[in-house]
Amino acid sequence: MIVYTIKRVVLALLIIACAVSTMFVMIHAVPGDPANVMLGPRATPEIKEALRARLHLDQPLSTQLFYFFKGLISGNFGFDLRSNRPVLDIVLEQLPHTFILVSSALIVSTLGIPVGCYAAMHRNGKFDRIVGAISVSIIAVPAIVVGLYMLLFFSVELRVFPVIGAGDSEDWLNYLWHLTLPVVTISIAWIGYISRLVRASMIEVLSQNHVRMARAFGLPEARVISRYALRIAVLPSITMMGVSVAFILSSTVITEIIFARPGLGSLLYESVLSRNYPLVMGTVLMSTIFIVGGTTIADLINAALDPRALKEND
């Protein structure tokens, strides 16, 4: 397990380096001059040139990439072109909001596991059919639509949840209150998706010999389900949830904008539009770490639950 963990961590670092390099090239390939955006229309050509030189934008792309990694190694992520604040400070200010949003959405998404499990146990029953219909419906609805309608209903009509902001971070109840609608917006489709996935896996596992054997030995149904069926049926869902970190993270962009929440998603959106390269790269790096970290953790959990994964990687 230790060797497997080391292998996974090294692979994760390589993936992060590759992903960040690719993003760096892509961002610089997109048309747009940060000097124009940053300095506004009235800046003289000399001032714009000075800014380009400061950002190494007058150098070849490979040199710029070298400076970027050199900065990273020394812990220097660069400075926000507009406020001149260190990128690392800005990203770290925003990270907790996104981390809490994504983590909460992931946790809420796990509601799909008992729902899918119960549906599989009562296959083709009323509950299964209703859950099936609802799941397919909510999977098909984009997060932006869910978010807007929830705002209109819960915030404007009922006035039970706030519309904007992250709330007071020193008052956890207030923070939680502000977090509710964004989390539901992101996770509602995942609850449906995971419940479908668990249901399908569970139906397959329930028909396997070891489950029939357990039942034949007269083990309690709850024990059969929790120890012999669900433990195996849930594996594809855990893998999927690792991958879902990337999707959930991308959903945070639109969710943070709609709910006017601080976070990496809205920061990335703003910095891409303004061609604020240092801030874009800082945000992309942090998001990549987040995603690769999520999939690595999912792989490690999978390996712990299913030792066959360790052998396959030998």
Partner: protein
């Protein structure tokens, strides 16, 4: 057994949920009760990024600088562009090159930075022309020679040459903001988000980047009393979210999109007031004179004649704005008020035939917003009627603002919006010959235009100056390179329990917000 456990778990969950709901309700009620009438929640489209007046960039920076720093003179809130004394007790232009002023005594900086003095004024204005500062808005003070200190409160602004916009886009605008010499020098000569000291009607109590800024009245302010005990500024990027937040009672004032005006006119939220104001900004179709397909003025004039501006205003802007009469907006020096020629499809076809053009493929570059795309689609349909096939290139803002630098003379049509403070020189400066390919995307190449622009900068006789701007707009019209569509309005939604301070263009003058009794 399993079912029993399941039922018990549900019971436990329900109990916890009820408890949480009660706690939440108490919290909500508490929050609502805690809100006082002397608190104001203001939405801005983004968070501020720099408070240094020499480096401001966004509307949020502009709003914050105006409330935090005093100016000798400041625009009045209302519908006409007029200025009034703010930090100055008196100010007078004694000749074309000399402006004498006297500060009101008793205006204090925050912290231990003492009183606002002439030395601060001298430092604030002269730093713009310091080449080491590299201010991108050096143009506002390029005519400055020096500020002479007479005594602690009196000074004289000496200009190198006459500069008419000083009363419109310099002294009452952000470039007229006075910063603390001592605090700014301590910060190294410039600052971004921490000015060290401010002396406006309000001061910053707390700033949580990208979340909120809390302002409280500044005790050292010697102007009219601040209307609110607390102003919370919330950066909300998405206008629709801001509208929902207004309806939910979380914000008291916001700018809304033009597209929402018809809905709000039909059903205004209870206690809401809608205020639509024209700005000095201008939206126009630029037709690149330097492009080989558009080099014949008859082709450019044909394009202008074929486009139905009324349909654009109706289709893309919901009939809210008025049709533009030219570069200069209503209320500014040089506004012509002359109605543009109506659409003339037959005339357009005749011009194309005269130019020997039978079929033409053109491209228009636009920002990827709903309004611009709709406007471009209407233009596409209009030009289709005279045999011009128009391709629409939708670009994000980063790419769009670089399109002229990328494509140069290959650029054909652009649907554009330029912002402008209330002096026409801000608008005409972009179409000088040395701006070709930078901001002059039409490649207007007119010596007459350039001469008029520089002459108008120095002309302090308003009648003569007005005549010059008429002539400049005539040159633009004759070039066939510009089709002015509208001066985009600013649409403000606010509660009837506040009396907002609004500049004539809808900008927020936070220092003048008051509760409406």
């Amino acid at each position: 057994m399993f079912r029993l456990k399941f039922i018990k778990a549900i019971e436990r969950f329900s109990r916890n949920l009820s408890l949480a709901a009660i706690v939440c309700s108490v919290s909500i009620v508490g929050t609502i009760n805690a809100a006082k009438s002397s608190e104001l929640n203001v939405r801005l489209g983004e968070d501020f990024t720099t408070l240094d007046p020499a480096f401001w960039q966004s509307g949020a920076d502009y709003t914050m600088i105006n409330v935090l720093f005093p100016k000798l003179i400041e625009f009045k809130s209302g519908s006409d562009w007029e200025y009034e004394l703010q930090a100055a007790e008196s100010i007078k232009q004694v000749d074309e090159l000399t402006i004498k002023f006297k500060l009101k005594p008793g205006l204090m900086w925050t912290g231990n930075y003492g009183e606002v003095t002439t030395e601060d004024v001298k430092y604030s204005y002269e730093r713009y022309i310091d080449p080491e500062l590299n201010s991108p808005i050096i143009g506002d003070w390029l005519a400055l020679k020096e500020v002479e200190i007479v005594d602690k409160y009196s000074g004289i602004i000496h200009l190198k040459e006459p500069f008419a916009p000083i009363w419109w886009s310099t002294l009452p605008y952000t470039s007229g903001a006075i910063v603390s010499k001592k605090a700014t020098e301590e910060a190294g000569g410039k600052f971004t988000t921490d000015p060290g000291a401010t002396a406006g009607a309000y001061k910053i109590k707390s700033w949580t980047p990208r979340e909120k800024t809390v302002l409280v009245p500044h005790d050292g302010w010697n102007g009219p009393k601040a209307g609110f005990d607390k102003i919370t500024i919330l950066p909300i990027q998405e206008p629709k979210s801001a509208e929902i937040a207004f309806e939910a009672g979380e914000i008291d004032i916001t700018e809304i999109s033009i597209g929402s005006v018809p809905n709000f006119r039909e059903a205004l939220p209870v206690g809401g007031v809608l205020d639509v104001r024209p700005t000095a900004d201008y939206t126009f179709l630029g037709i690149n004179i330097a492009n080989k397909d558009l080099s014949d003025v008859r082709v450019r004039q044909a394009i202008k004649k074929a486009i139905d501006v009324d349909a654009i205003l109706e289709g893309a802007y919901f009939g809210v704005p008025e049709k533009s009469t030219g570069l200069v907006a209503p209320g500014l020096v040089g506004y012509t008020g002359v109605a543009p020629d109506p659409r003339d499809v037959d005339g357009a076809k005749a011009l194309l035939a005269e130019a020997g053009v039978s079929a033409l493929n053109l491209e228009v570059d636009v920002l990827n917003t709903a309004e611009f795309i709709t406007a471009a689609q209407i233009i596409q349909a209009n030009l289709g009627e005279i045999g011009i096939n128009l391709q629409i290139n939708q670009l994000d803002s980063g790419a769009f603002w670089n399109v002229a630098a990328d494509r140069k003379e290959a650029l054909q049509l652009t649907l554009n919006n330029y912002t402008s403070p209330p002096d026409p020189s801000w608008s005409t400066q972009w179409f000088l010959r040395d701006q070709k390919g930078i901001w002059n995307w039409v490649w207007l190449d007119s010596e007459e235009f350039d001469n008029l622009h520089f002459a108008a900068l120095k002309e302090t006789d308003m009648k003569k100056r007005e005549s010059m701007y008429y002539d400049m707009q005539r040159v633009m019209d004759d070039s066939g390179g510009f089709l002015f569509i509208m001066h985009p309005p600013s649409v403000i939604l606010y509660r009837d329990n506040i009396k907002p301070g609004l500049y004539p263009n809808g900008g927020l003058k936070l220092s003048e917000f008051q509760p409406a009794n």
